[in-house]
């Protein structure tokens, strides 16, 4: 039970180092904070290595320099490649059924589906009770957070 509690206390969450690209002009900051010192400007397309994440910030290394950027300014796709391909999802509207070799749930599968009411009623089998859910949360040291005034 204590094991899960450790996750509550840790700082940045280390992630497997992966390359990502800056998708909008931004600044590399010294700490995960919008008011933190700016280390350098980053241009769209700049490649960075992701080291860790803390809240909505990613710790990255760029040209040997460590710092933090907002997670929304990073993408793992090569810049300029994909957006044009699936802009607005239109490209995929015509090929939703093409899932050869994949046991998928595409539009075709949905259109051909015969409603399975017994399966829907059967979902109640695994439903948890509120007591079970609370005990389960407690096991991991999870508590319902007081809603901060910023989020009311």
């Amino acid at each position: 039970m204590k094991r899960w509690l450790i996750a509550l206390l840790c700082g940045p969450l280390p992630v497997a180092a992966q390359t990502a690209y800056v998708n909008t002009a931004t600044q590399l900051r010294a700490s995960p904070n919008a008011d933190a010192e700016v280390l350098r400007a980053l241009e769209p397309g700049a490649a960075v290595e992701i080291r860790a994440r803390q809240g909505g910030w990613e710790q990255v290394t760029v040209s040997g320099q460590n710092g933090w950027v907002r997670m929304s300014v990073l993408q793992s796709r090569t810049p300029g490649s994909a957006p044009g391909v699936f802009e607005g999802g239109r490209q995929f509207a015509t090929q939703t059924v093409a899932t050869t070799g994949v046991r998928g749930l595409g539009e075709g599968d949905l259109q051909n589906a015969v409603p399975d009411l017994a399966a829907a009623d059967g979902l109640a089998t695994y439903a948890a009770t509120a007591e079970q859910a609370r005990a389960f949360a407690g096991d991991a040291g999870l508590h319902a957070a007081a809603i901060p005034k910023e989020d009311r």
Partner: protein
């Protein structure tokens, strides 16, 4: 339990109506009106109708993909999901969660408290906080009644009226819904779930979903991390086809979600619970 209570009340009320009719030649329409009021007082017609619509919507999705046959995993997802749903404005719905046995990467919500996540999406997650965020998005759709409103708009008043009367009939004796009615509603469900909700509904569900996960004590950025993962998956592989067809692009959703980062940051650094998640998935992968 609610249905049982309703049946009991209806039986008692019925007896009064019959006696009253003999003695005072009570108008039948008035009696039916009274019965409707009584039903409203006990469980509410809206909730009954929502449950019927949700049942057919979930049944349609389950007709396309079955749940995985792993009771431990299903129980785990139900506990995470209910813990998040308990933080919502509708904690008392009969929340039911399931993992669909498909490689496609997606998740679905249906009115009345049904939430389905695909094995394909589950396998791309890294922590319980990410699972809570993904389920939170679907829970938000139910709480905000997005599919319910869309189906009510599309289905037309006659279908809804038929469904309501079927729901009343079913509440006392669990009779089968009329086959034609199921077919008509299921057709509307297929159209909606192939076309998707309004983009604004998806952005609203991201926002509330992240907030619900945060209120449950999880890292508020679990959903954001999921969107970042989705953005990195090659969409031409096909597993994301339906998701892309029905949702704004993950990068756009992430950018929109980050606009409320002040509200998410206010929760501070919270738990990701990745160890318990990893243990559950490891047990699932090698049964």
């Amino acid at each position: 339990m609610a249905a049982k209570r309703l049946a009991l009340w209806a039986a008692a009320f019925g007896a009064v109506v019959v006696c009253g009719a003999q003695a005072f030649d009570l108008d039948l329409n008035r009696a039916l009106g009274e019965l409707k009021n009584l039903k409203t007082a006990v469980i509410g017609p809206d909730l009954q109708e929502e449950e019927e619509i949700g049942r057919v919507a979930a049944a349609t999705l389950l007709g396309a993909a079955h749940p995985v046959s792993d009771p431990a995993l299903e129980a785990y997802v139900n506990k995470v999901g209910l813990w998040v749903a308990l933080q919502s404005e509708r904690p008392d719905l009969p929340w039911r969660f399931a993992v669909l046995d498909t490689d496609s990467i997606n998740a679905f919500a249906a009115p009345g408290g049904y939430v389905l996540i695909t094995r394909g999406l589950l396998m791309h997650l890294h922590s319980e906080a990410e699972l809570a965020g993904a389920l939170g998005h679907e829970i938000a759709h139910v709480v905000l009644k997005h599919h319910l409103h869309a189906l009510r708009r599309e289905a037309g008043t006659q279908l809804m009226a038929d469904l309501s009367s079927e729901a009343v009939a079913r509440s006392s004796a669990r009779a089968h819904l009329d086959r034609q009615l199921i077919g008509a509603l299921s057709g509307q469900v297929k159209t909606l779930y192939s076309r998707g909700l309004d983009k604004s509904d998806e952005y609203a569900a991201d926002q509330l979903g992240a907030q619900l996960a945060a209120r449950a004590g999880y890292d508020p950025y679990g959903l954001a991390a999921v969107l970042q993962t989705l953005d990195g998956i090659d969409p031409s592989a096909g597993a994301l086809a339906l998701l892309y067809r029905t949702h704004p692009r993950p990068a756009d959703r992430l950018a929109a979600l980050m606009k409320i980062s002040d509200r998410l940051d206010a929760y501070g650094a919270q738990a990701t619970v990745s160890e318990r998640f990893d243990a559950q998935l490891a047990a699932f992968k090698k049964p």
